[in-house]
């Protein structure tokens, strides 16, 4: 008998009697202002949310914030003139030297400051992690309250890969001191487009 059959038959013998699932597992969360909550939590996890009216505002802010920075890539057509780094590459290892990635997020979650980023919008899975700094643009109308609403909003297998990103990469593995920029991006700015 193969291990597969051995394991599955032992499971069948040993698993308890069928217990049906009828517990409530989705809950409502109410916030006065979704953007404020999202912004508060995002700053708690080390990121920064900025409310903007249009792409020009974002552009101006990026230009002042990252002036002199080169190796910038973007997936958003409106910012193509900011980019000097093409994402049209075959090997994701070529992203190694990237300083800034400006990408689109599908939607954001107020309760935990997370943004869903999937292959729908990023041509390389490693893009949001390998870049030194990350900028995500998300629409203000696309902020949901909590994770129950988030999973109603996304079909996780629509693409081969998707991730909730909540703040910049971090670690507290050395004496519980928080350090931002463990392996992934050292900074995360989220522009919320109203």
């Amino acid at each position: 008998m193969s291990s597969r059959e051995k394991i599955l038959s032992a499971i069948k013998t040993n698993q308890p009697d069928y217990q049906k699932l009828d517990v409530q597992f989705k809950f409502e969360t109410v916030y006065d202002d979704l953007f404020n909550k999202f912004s508060e939590i995002l700053s708690f996890v080390g990121g920064k949310a900025i409310e903007v009216k249009n792409f020009d505002e974002i552009k101006a802010d990026i230009q002042s914030h990252y002036s002199g920075v080169t190796r910038i890539a973007t997936t958003i057509a409106e910012f193509s003139d900011l980019a000097d780094f093409s994402l049209n590459i075959a090997d994701p290892h070529d992203l190694e030297t990237l300083n800034l990635a400006i990408i689109e997020g599908d939607f954001a979650v107020a309760e935990n400051g997370a943004i869903w980023v999937s292959e729908k919008h990023i041509p390389h899975r490693v893009l949001p992690m390998i870049t030194q700094y990350l900028v995500i643009v998300v629409k203000k109308s696309e902020i949901v309250t909590n994770m129950h609403r988030a999973y109603e909003r996304v079909k996780v297998d629509d693409t081969g890969f998707g991730t909730f990103i909540s703040g910049p990469s971090k670690t507290a593995d050395i004496e519980q001191s928080l350090v931002i920029g463990a392996h992934g991006a050292r900074g995360l700015t989220v522009y919320v487009l109203g």
């Binding site: 409530q24 597992f25 899975r125 994770m147 996780v156 392996h183 991006a185």
Partner: protein
């Protein structure tokens, strides 16, 4: 009889020799526990969420066979190769054969307690394969040739000066440097190079979704993603209990996990893998290694509901004051003390005794595992089967008589709490080795029995 080389209480005695360090360890973990409380208090429906998490997991255990076969089918359709491993040895061999097939002898690995349980690193080292752990805490302990002492915070037993010394030796950082920012930066550079050059990456699995044939990996550092997305081959290793029915159930578990673990609202990255990227190969290894046996033990099967948040570690007065290494098993703490005897009763007979049975673990567990009850039940099994040495045997006998007589328990319990408050030295005697270097922990205001009665009413 008892064939443990260094048992928990002896190791704990050793750990307790450095009083200042033990106090620091204790306080640091209590700080993490306090962060958990703060996060939890912000969710009014927290208790309902725990109940949901618990019920979903109960349901999964009762339907594991079908969910696993559904998962296998969907994952295969997604282009993932699914392997089954009966034990740790087979798990290691499968992984080795995948690495060998690629013609490489190096691999990068993100946190996976399962690979610790199966001693994968040692196995691969013997085969000439170099494994680099990419989680910062795991990398630190790996350099020091120590096992992780905590499932979420692998290097929690170390001070920054220890890390500074280790990095000076292995990464060439300045001698005496202790700044966490500087040390982390050095590790970042070192591991970035690793991510960029490894063709095979291994990750753990936090949740596997039957409905969609995908899996979720949670990290704060982004190390699982860096490894997996840059490698030609991604291997994900999972114990079969990681399965959940549907993606929508992730709403419950992702709300529970990080808040329980570190007090964060969610981990920085919660990555959902469903298909290999173009040109990549993806493997999932589904492991038994004693889990089917545990599933068959009605009293202990609930331990398979664990989502490895480590809240029970952080809250445990014994763990905080004895350190993870004293548990001599891959998963320490209260939950590890339930899981380990299942794998080897004789070797791990001491672990269910490494508890005051105060019940704090069960109170914080996000999936409502009856941890302290199971610890107590293990004691009975182990004593009955003759796995317990005399000192502990006496302890258990008096404990057993106390618990078997409700009236005596009420009196003895009150007396015990009175003694602990007024004359701790009377409880703090040689019969109870891990108390040796210190006073008893803070006395709970409410006894387990009072708590139990209140919860029942």
């Amino acid at each position: 009889m008892n064939n443990i080389k260094i048992d928990h209480s002896a190791a704990a005695t050793e750990f307790n020799k450095d009083e200042a360090r033990v106090n620091w360890h204790d306080e640091t973990l209590w700080f993490v526990r306090s962060k958990r409380d703060k996060a939890v208090f912000q969710i009014p429906e927290w208790e309902q969420l725990r109940e949901a998490g618990s019920q979903i997991k109960n349901h999964v255990l009762s339907n594991l066979h079908d969910y696993l076969t559904e998962f296998e089918k969907k994952a295969t359709e997604n282009g993932i190769t699914v392997h089954w491993a009966a034990d740790g040895k087979e798990h290691n061999e499968i992984i080795y054969s995948i690495i060998k097939n690629e013609g490489v002898n190096r691999m990068v690995k993100s946190k996976s307690m399962l690979t610790e349980e199966c001693h994968l690193n040692e196995f691969l080292k013997e085969k000439g394969v170099e494994v680099i752990d990419s989680d910062l805490g795991e990398r630190i302990v790996q350099m020091r040739e120590e096992p992780p002492s905590h499932i979420v915070l692998p290097a929690i037993h170390l001070k920054k000066s220890d890390v500074g010394d280790t990095f000076h030796e292995h990464l060439g950082t300045e001698k005496g440097a202790t700044d966490p920012q500087y040390l982390t930066e050095a590790a970042r550079q070192h591991l970035r190079d690793t991510f960029l050059t490894r063709k095979v990456a291994l990750t753990g699995v936090n949740f596997a979704i039957a409905e969609t044939g995908g899996f979720v990996v949670c990290t704060n550092e982004g190390n699982a993603d860096m490894g997996a997305h840059l490698a030609d081959v991604h291997i994900a290793a999972m114990g079969f209990e990681k399965i959940i029915p549907k993606a929508e159930h992730l709403g419950v578990f992702l709300r529970l996990l990080a808040r329980s673990a570190t007090g964060q609202p969610i981990t920085t990255f919660s990555s959902h893998f469903h298909k290999p990227r173009a040109g990549q190969k993806m493997h999932i290894v589904i492991v038994d290694n004693g889990r089917t046996t545990q599933l068959g033990r009605a009293d202990f099967r609930n331990s398979l509901k664990c989502i490895r948040c480590a809240a029970c570690f952080n809250t445990c007065p014994v763990y905080r004051r004895s350190g993870g290494h004293s548990y001599h098993t891959a998963i320490a703490g209260p939950i590890g003390s339930i899981l380990a005897p299942n794998l080897d009763m004789a070797k791990n007979a001491d672990l269910p005794f490494a508890s005051t049975l105060c019940g704090s673990c069960s109170n914080v567990c996000p999936v409502k595992i009856d941890i302290h009850d199971q610890l107590y039940k293990w004691r009975q099994v182990l004593v009955k089967d003759g796995h317990v040495s005399s000192v502990k045997s006496i302890g258990i006998k008096s404990m057993a008589s106390v618990l078997n007589s409700p009236k005596f328990y009420r009196t003895a319990g009150k007396l015990g709490r009175f003694l602990m408050k007024t004359a701790p030295f009377m409880v703090n005697n040689n019969m109870n080795v891990w108390y040796n270097q210190r006073e008893m922990p803070e006395v709970p205001k409410e006894s387990f029995r009072d708590w139990y009665l209140r919860k029942r009413n």
